[in-house]
Symmetry: D2
Subunit: 331 residues, 4 copies
């Protein structure tokens, strides 16, 4: 469903090549000073249009507040933010309607919605939908004073030297995957709700809503499977719960322990590779070679950090409100 959250709730809508994308944010505390300006930095980071390896398609991505603000502050009523789509070339997609692009949702969407899906540019499955999420994240971050959320690409195509990883893709005339790491500082102890709503559960839930994410791990993550208990256990060393090591990544028993929250996501290579590919034409029943047209990122991981920060912020703010660590009216 297109909703996430229990107290701070977001509802996403829109399509890549429809009229607009956007988000409704319900349950946002009243009294927060807020303007379009507050969102622009993160929205700009999401566009990534100036980076090597990101798509030259540049939506203006200007956030129009349509409700929920009054006199420059949030009112406690739902905030609706609308982004217009005004830089689309739908004809690129119409031509290849019956050839589902490998790695994209074309075929599953067609099956699921009985052929009624808006297929242009991935429609509702497009990464463009994350625009609204980034806006919500910027608001959530502003509400979480004293808490910092920072995500960054740590690897591209297996290379910690990102330029090198990207160059590999350019040389291969192919797209490439990457890793993004997120670190959160300043979280209180006690976020997370047993049994099903551990911090890891909720963050993983929303992280896998981000297109192209195929894995997530907390702290030492998959490496923990190779460790002994005496190595992995983090010994508490002061009354704030500070631990000597942080193999747990800040979450024990599903609950934040006051240490840095650390997790990583794996992002698959952009499905739209410049390379020629093969797929099945569902009208003819024949396999066909084809090339993806349109403008695409060589490495979507480059745009992922700000989206992951937003997803994290939205999730943690919800926990903070639930745990009554943030008030429903701020001042």
């Amino acid at each position: 469903m297109n909703s996430f959250g229990r107290i701070f709730r977001v509802h996403i809508f829109g399509e890549s090549h429809g009229e607009s994308v956007g988000i409704v944010i319900d349950g946002c505390p009243a009294g927060l000073s807020l303007s379009e300006e507050d969102l622009l930095t993160d929205l700009e980071r999401r566009k990534g249009g100036k980076q090597k390896g990101t798509t030259p398609r540049q939506e203006a991505d200007y956030p129009f507040f349509k409700s929920g603000l009054f006199n420059g502050k949030t009112t406690g009523a739902p905030i609706m933010i609308l982004f217009e789509n005004n830089n689309t070339r739908s004809e690129d997609y119409n031509k290849q309607r019956s050839i589902p692009r490998p790695g994209h949702a074309d075929w599953v969407a067609h099956q699921k919605y009985g052929g009624q899906e808006d297929y242009r540019g991935g429609g509702h499955f497009s990464a463009r939908l994350t625009t609204g999420l980034v806006a919500a994240g910027a608001i959530a971050k502003k509400l979480m004073q004293g808490i910092t959320i920072r995500a960054a690409v740590t690897e591209i195509g297996g290379e910690a030297d990102l330029e090198k990883g990207l160059q590999k893709a350019i040389d291969a005339k192919d797209s490439v995957g990457g890793l993004v790491e997120c670190r959160v500082n300043g979280l209180p102890v006690g976020l997370g709700e047993p049994f099903f709503d551990s911090v890891e559960s909720q963050i993983a839930h929303i992280a896998f809503a981000i297109p192209a994410v195929k894995g997530i791990e907390f702290g030492t993550g998959f490496a923990a499977a190779n460790m002994f208990g005496s190595q992995h256990n983090d010994a508490i060393e002061n009354m704030d719960g500070k631990t000597r090591t942080n193999h747990a990544g800040g979450v024990v028993g599903g609950i934040s322990n006051g240490n840095e929250l650390v997790f990583r996501i794996a992002i698959k290579p952009t499905a739209s590779t410049p390379k020629e590919q093969n797929s099945l034409n569902w009208e003819t029943g024949q396999a066909e070679n084809f090339s993806v047209k349109g403008r695409h990122d060589l490495c979507v991981a480059l745009r992922a950090p700000v989206i992951l920060e937003a997803a994290t912020a939205v999730t943690l703010l919800d926990f903070l409100l639930l745990e009554q660590q943030i008030k429903r009216v701020v001042s």
Copy 2:
């Protein structure tokens, strides 16, 4: 929260050393033949008491149906299953109340619940809580005819030879982590709900509710971050959506694509290692060396497969009901 699911909903309760653990299953289709017998195989697998490396604590784990069955069939009303706790040695825990065990929820629970938590054996944070989930999973599996869910340990302590991995731990007098892989066959195309409820999102959500899970990946997962798009993309080769490769692990755009669903979880080493450890006594404010008493698994990953199957079954059944692929009255 202790609830999961939208149509098929489970509500978990209980503590490790309290009177009982159990589960309420709401939204289960009416008309399913069901008895305690149907649950025993999976419950036995969860206990794992006969395996090298698992705890000698052996609850009877007999499932008492307290509601929801009539004449040997489900009625459509909530099914409550109760497990009595009758093999507990709480005194083991009372002694070390003020020394939070590293890697356990002791300290976070104490902070979150203001010192009111049932600390004995981890209380509500204990892996014993998964008993109810395994029962629900057995019911879910029985409802999903034609769909098979199989999980297995694929590595212990970094060794694909499981005996060898376990022996490493025994030799080191330490606990050890592992990997568990789950494969689901027979799923229809079209499960998963954009934007936030992708198949990956929901499975990851519940997987991270399982104690000790620290990572999850679908298909090639983290390895996808090193691949080119032309390598990772799975070409569709027939009208059922069968793909030549399955790097996506059966999910594209968050939606099941009819291929085998494949994912892996990373399980950290059992927090209760036989090795002496160091922690902070929160009454004295002093660090102390101590040893974990009680009976514990050397490698909890050994018990995880049936729990992961259950979590997966519960999640997929919910999707199937939502997608109207399973009826609310079966016959």
Copy 3:
């Protein structure tokens, strides 16, 4: 919260004198032919601008589809409908900011949101918010083929002759309340979910979201309290469940029984009466006489039928989808 529904979910936003009001509809089946035209009749009924006793404020109330439609059909993705506010006279409200209008939400909103509420014309508490609900209702009705939902005013100011009731108010220079009855035909047996989600529970829930509703009753309702069991019980007389009488109003045990669903709501007189009133100026702490300015309905009950139909349609459609009586892809 501003969301309602489990499968067919609506999310409302906006303020009376802000930039817009609107709704996001998530979970709408794909494949429904839909255009602005389909909504205009009901939106026009809601405006009620031509009726004696309704406000002369006439928004254009044109529904802009911002997402979820493609080639004239629903796609299965969220439908966002936006209504612009372009006929507001906010200055009417600014003057009396500190004098909460009796019967309005002014004072409670001020307390709840710490003075941050948009107070103009009731802000988010305005009946203007029902515009989106009416739009969603028109869509829901279109999906429910063979089911008819009809609501009508049955009394104004205690008079079954509506003209007479209205004239009473005009003569008294006062506003007046009324009763609205809703009848639904064609419902299948079996809607409603024990224990908490009876048909009555859900309909009452959403009915009390409509501004000014202060009571609801099903079938003979309050009169049932005076009846004997032998009188009130409806005897089943054929295999379709048709009953001889319908004192239950089509719902037994919280579940639809296949007979006509009948219920009534009580609507209080419009809070904005033309009469002079007395309230407390919260800045001076002094009582003051004042008159409500602005344009208002003498009897809001006149506009309620189409809103109640919409609320009912949205609720019943959700039950139908949950009970799998309507498919998630229509054709």
Copy 4:
């Protein structure tokens, strides 16, 4: 669904003549002193076995805490309370399986669950299910210090003199309906969440889950439909929001205004009347006269006050937690 609440959540299970009924309470604040004793007064009131006009069936109704308590206090983990059914005469029901009792859920349950329902004594539709709700209500009340919730029967069979109303039924050898009024004092201003979760919406939702409820009204309720605005509006007269009159019943714009919360429910006559009735035998397709056997209340309204108090307490506590007026750890 068998769940209610957002922060304080209850999950009901059980059948009238099955093994047990009960409730899981999730989200209960930690640190509340609690024992079986705290529940007995309200559970005794629900049984009503000593009152003229209530059923002689007397379950012991002893609440067994199966989880969530430790050292006499709530822990923050789910509280499961089990009631055994040990005084049932199922054979009474078996005989008339194919003759649905008018006014009962027999026929709708049979249709909805494909004949798989537990039909004995109404099964999951029985008023016996309210036992768990009453237990949850007693806990909720204990948490709401300074807030009093009192419900009472105000009319039986149209008579304010309750003895007289009951005698009418006894004389007529019939069952009879009644009215129950609930008054809550001490509520803070600001409970209720626009647009859909008004105080009235949530209370009406849960009130209609109580068997036999057919109407609800707040404040002057249905009488408001006959009033002028200048009469109905409650003028605020001090800075606490105290109003001169209380026609609104303590809720304006769906939000509590700090005045007494007042509402009434209409309860239909007990469906199981001693009088001979007529129904359709669904096996023969023939109408039949029959008499209801078993032990039943002449007037279920007599047992309703404590149930309505519980429903109200559960609902208001949830609002208080949501509004952060009650802490998640009490002391």
